[in-house]
Subunit: 295 residues, 2 copies
């Protein structure tokens, strides 16, 4: 079915570790590396080979998967720690981290110059999706390479090729924009109901099953009704996402008015209200406060 | 199971007619009236008694259901055409029209004075939900009256009592606010993907099943990908809803920044772009235009 045998996984944190386990269970030979080595060593019991360096991990890899914190870290590990040089000719780097589209495109260009392939393939679905192999995988890059990687993706979730290099990251940003704005939508709706004298929990129940239904109304709407904002996804992470979204919009001359309004209010929630570490559903508290941010 | 036998249905248009049919099929004796009488007469074949006037329709009714265009029409029919006077003492008016919460509360107060009960019980689910008896019914009013009407609601859909008088209408507004803002969210996301070089149809597929999933991403997202804006729900209707939402927010001192931004852009879509009769998913076109409304 495939000529892919050896996979290196660089970054075995909350997401990377269960993804590596899925690959091991699917029968791939997996070599793992992580900056803090204990997290990589924990995977030895599952059958992974543990490498002492990122460059050492990729020397025999057909496919290198990176699952790292942000664009700067991916750039540093791949091009600053000798990964690109150490990868066999023709090997594919599949970057499943969430990073800006422009950085992903730059990585693709640089890897082409060293005789390698690149897919940007960020995911949605969280640690549960990673453990169960049900991640939504949004892939950008050449169709032929996407097809070649199909068995690898199949072990981790449901891949869709959404376009050329950078398109996977754009898709992830589209996902995060919908999440942030829909949280705002549910917050305004439940606040309107509550201040007007309705029972917000009953309203949430009543409107599910209609056109207002969403995963956000289900999960984050419940957090708002319960006024329970333990994360989940943090406000600070949502702010980082909104900044990347607005920058990507500006690059293509696109104003994103709802994304911008949500961003301003998340900043106010973090900076004025001290809510940076709350779940992003806490946008509810900022809108409830009635404070209009100046910036 | 219930002492309710006779039901009058005032307003047998696109929604009222299939709702009356559900009641007939459930075994109630149904008398119908409609301003343009042909729409009422069409229900005779289903077993309905057709009344020549609204007041005539309600004379023996245990329950009067109104399904009319807006608050002014409900006020006119119930209090201007003698319905309140003609209703038997203790009968219940169930107003399933979508009208402002303050108007619904006023109706409840006035009916109490004439010895009647009132529930506001607007619905979501459209003509399909009405025909299949799967409407989301959002009811405001006294718990005891809500319980008494339960068998009537059961014939038409899934009722939830969301609070006192007016709460049903608030819930409907909450529903409509989520719908309008989420349309904006999906529009920004798909535009970002498209302008950045990704395939918006593939992006929509890729992000479904994650936290971005919603009925709006499903139905209205498809309209955006296909650039196909035949209604469905019209821009003009969404504008009317947003005006009621913002007015209800103002009544309780609540700023609704995302609702307001969406409203401004729908106005621009109608007034500058001539898109009033398009499906409300066409907010996509306004955001794509890059035009910032002045008001």
């Amino acid at each position: 079915m495939s000529d892919i045998k050896n996979i290196a996984v660089l970054g075995t944190g909350l997401m990377g570790a269960p993804m590596a386990r899925r690959l091991l269970r699917a029968g791939f030979a997996v070599t793992v590396w992580n900056r803090s080595s204990a997290k990589a060593e924990a995977l030895a019991a599952d059958g992974a080979k543990v490498a002492a360096s990122a460059a050492g991990a990729v020397q025999e890899a057909d496919v290198v998967i990176t699952m790292l914190d942000n664009g700067a870290v991916v750039t540093e590990v791949v091009f600053g720690q000798g990964v690109a040089e150490a990868m066999p000719e023709g090997a594919v780097l599949v970057d499943m981290s969430s990073i800006p589209p422009s950085v992903a495109r730059d990585h693709a260009t640089r890897l082409k110059q060293t005789g390698h392939h690149h897919l940007d393939a960020p995911v949605s679905g969280g640690t549960v999706g990673a453990a169960e192999g049900t991640l939504a995988i949004m892939a950008g890059g050449e169709e032929e390479i996407f097809q070649r990687i199909a068995p690898v993706f199949a072990a981790m979730g449901r891949p869709v090729r959404v376009g050329p290099s950078g398109a996977g990251q754009l898709s992830k940003l589209a996902n995060q924009a919908i999440v942030g704005i829909t949280i705002g939508a549910v917050a305004e709706a439940l606040l309107l109901a509550e201040k007007g004298g309705a029972d917000p929990g009953a309203v949430r129940q009543a409107i599910r099953g209609g056109f207002a239904e969403s995963r956000i109304l289900d999960v984050h709407g419940k957090r708002m009704v319960d006024r329970e904002f333990i994360p989940g996804g943090k406000v600070t992470t949502q702010i980082k996402d909104m900044e990347t979204i607005l920058a990507a919009g500006a690059e293509v001359g696109l104003e994103l008015p709802l994304s911008r309004e949500v961003y301003r209010r998340y900043l106010d929630l973090r900076d004025r209200m001290g809510g940076g570490d709350l779940d992003h559903a806490a946008l509810f508290l900022q809108i409830e406060s009635g404070h209009t941010p100046v910036t």
